[in-house]
């Protein structure tokens, strides 16, 4: 029990600091260790966990909570979650403090103007990558396109559009 908790903590604390660009970048490594190395679960179970964490609200990285729960119960869930978020959160907290302290510095205003387009481009990139990774039919592209238009051109609440997407999914057998 303690041994698996330590394994969970070390695995996810390490992945926390390797997850450049978000948790998706380390999902393959999570899968390799959980399924092939430690035999905590089957490949099918891992895919189920991945699907659950994608469909639930909140960050997809909560897949680690499910892995932890599977390995060592509620304590395992807690250890995996803290290990996955702790190190990276600490790092970003320190970066935020530094950033905040420099709020009146000219270099920060220049850096803000330089970083903003990178952020915007990466939001486009993640939407494109998600489309390519999860959508295979023209109907699904259509739902994404319609949602994009509705949300970019009107002030509709996103939940309404998500609900419409869910209904469209059922009707179109996506």
């Amino acid at each position: 029990m303690t041994a698996s908790l330590v394994k969970l903590a070390l695995l996810f604390a390490g992945l926390s600091l390797l997850a450049i660009g978000g948790a998706n970048s380390v999902v393959p490594e999570m899968q390799r260790v959980s399924v092939n190395v430690e035999h905590w679960m089957t490949g099918r179970e891992f895919l189920d966990f991945f699907a659950i964490s994608r469909m639930a609200p909140g960050p997809g990285s909560l897949i680690v909570t499910l892995i932890g729960e599977k390995v060592a119960g509620p304590l395992g869930a807690a250890v995996a979650t803290v290990a996955m978020f702790g190190p990276s959160c600490l790092l970003v907290y320190l970066a935020a403090r530094l950033w905040h302290r420099a709020r009146d510095a000219t270099w920060r205003q220049t850096a803000e103007r330089g970083l903003a387009p990178v952020a915007v481009g990466l939001v486009f990139a993640s939407a494109l990558a998600l489309t390519r990774g999860t959508e295979t039919s023209w109907l699904a592209y259509g739902v994404t396109g319609a949602a994009t238009l509705a949300l970019a051109a009107s002030e509709l609440h996103p939940l309404i559009v998500l609900a419409a997407g869910g209904v469209a999914g059922i009707l179109l057998h996506l």
Binding site: G58, C89, G121, L122, T131, V143, P158, G165, H173
Partner: protein, 190 residues
């Protein structure tokens, strides 16, 4: 900046939000963000609806969160919380955003074996996922309208979108090229 479709954002509020407000806003983000797209929700609540951060401050913070390791959305909660209310703010935003989704994920995990073979549920989730991707695209378009003002910046947006989103260039490599290039543009235009 284009026409009438975009309501003017409220002026940045002089007083930072209370810890209670902060955690409640992130709680609502955590509850509503089906299918992902959390950065979009955070921008909507923090920049567009409440004006707690200005567009450019938010975008540069988002870039910091993308550059530092870890889940972007979780990083973003910490960044926004820390910027508005320091250490306590970071905890309030983080806990607010995670507490309900953790409960939901665990509950779904327990029920999933029986849910898996309910086909309409899968169709519904695929549809919600497809719409959530649309939320990402729409947010990126809004960000472009508000935060991208020069041809150089537009070029960086395009380069990032194509290299990482379509050509599968690894993110560290893309950042290594794009961040210095974009900063150089910004210095040059100063």
């Amino acid at each position: 900046m284009t026409g009438a479709a975009t309501a003017a954002p409220p002026a940045p509020s002089p007083a930072p939000p209370s810890l209670r407000e902060l955690s409640l806003v992130f709680l609502s983000i955590g509850v509503q963000s089906f299918g992902g797209g959390l950065s979009a929700w955070v921008r909507r609540e923090v920049v567009q609806r409440r004006g707690w951060l200005e567009e450019q401050a938010f975008l540069s913070g988002l870039a910091l969160c993308q550059i530092t390791p870890g889940p972007n959305a979780v990083n973003l909660a910490v960044f926004v919380g820390a910027t508005l209310r320091g250490r306590a703010g970071a905890f309030a935003a983080l806990a607010g955003m995670l507490i309900v989704p953790i409960g939901i994920v665990l509950a779904l995990g327990a029920a999933f074996a029986t849910l898996r073979d309910t086909s309409w549920l899968g169709s519904m989730m695929t549809g919600i996922g497809a719409a959530a991707i649309g939320l990402n695209f729409a947010t990126a378009l809004r960000m472009t309208r508000k935060g991208v003002r020069t041809p150089g910046a537009a070029l960086i947006v395009l380069a990032a979108a194509i290299s990482v989103g379509l050509a599968d260039v690894s993110l560290p490599l893309a950042l290594l090229v794009l961040v210095p290039a974009s900063l150089a543009f910004a210095v040059w235009r100063r």
